[in-house]
């Protein structure tokens, strides 16, 4: 009576019928999780045409970007010039804005200065959370 029969005979192959399902599952997973790289940059808002606003000189911090990349800092109407590197503008702005919350940064770039230097200054201002920024070209 000792008859022991194998009840099921497992097939020797890995079941292949669900590979398509697995492939689709992976596909949909990657479709959902893929994020296309977005462009990055420093956002500014341009003024509207012919909308000039008179601002008191006391509220202006002049940042003059020289062709060498050095920034000349002038406060309002005073002739005193302080020279610094673009990275140092961040600290300066943080310091100045606590004294005068209405301060406007007037970035005046020399026409021959590289675009790179203007971006460095703008970057420093953005890093210091400056909101009122005016971009101009230096005129003599």
């Amino acid at each position: 009576m000792a008859v022991l029969k194998k009840k099921s005979r497992p097939s020797g192959e890995v079941p292949m019928s669900s590979t398509a399902d697995i492939a689709f599952l992976l596909l949909i997973f990657f479709l959902v999780t893929t994020v296309f790289p977005k462009d990055k940059g420093l956002a500014i808002v341009l003024p509207e045409e012919s909308s000039e606003v008179e601002v008191s000189q006391n509220n202006i911090l002049h940042l003059i970007v020289q062709p060498t990349g050095i920034v000349d800092v002038k406060r309002g109407e005073s002739q005193q010039v302080q020279q610094m590197r673009p990275e140092e503008v961040e600290g300066l702005w943080r310091q100045e804005i606590t004294g005068n919350p209405n301060l406007i940064a007037a970035v005046k770039t020399h026409p021959d200065a590289s675009y790179e230097y203007m971006v460095d200054v703008l970057d420093a201002l953005h890093a210091a959370n400056a909101e009122r920024i005016s971009l101009q070209v230096l005129e003599n």
Partner: protein, 149 residues
Amino acid sequence: MSMKGGGFERSSKASEEIPSSSLADIAFLLLIFFMVTTVFPSDQERPIDWVEAESSKKIDEKTKNILNIWVQENGTIFINDQSYAIDEVSQVIAPLYRDSDRALVISIRGDRDVPYRTMDQVQKELVAAGVVRVVFAAQLEQQMQRARR
């Protein structure tokens, strides 16, 4: 000798169902075909030396509402793969800006060595076209890189 069907018997027994085992293969084939043939509408990359900025942020606008203005080192300006003179920029941008319901964001991709004179002219052209939102496209500068400078 009389046989049913006059001696002819069905030689093959065709199944009544359409074979569905190759359905997944067909789906994949179509998928791969469309993946390969899809072209995303974007303008050609221009050879520029990117400016770097530590505090550059992602542009908060749909990709279709971003228009790139490329300014190369020699001052040539490219918009949608076409070269324009600097004083044509506002005429080119103005209709595009109107068509987008004033949602267009202009991304200025300037070479780092472009003299600021050119960039200022571009900005003035954009103001003339009525554009408000502008981004100076910049690569994210790593903190480490900055420390090394």
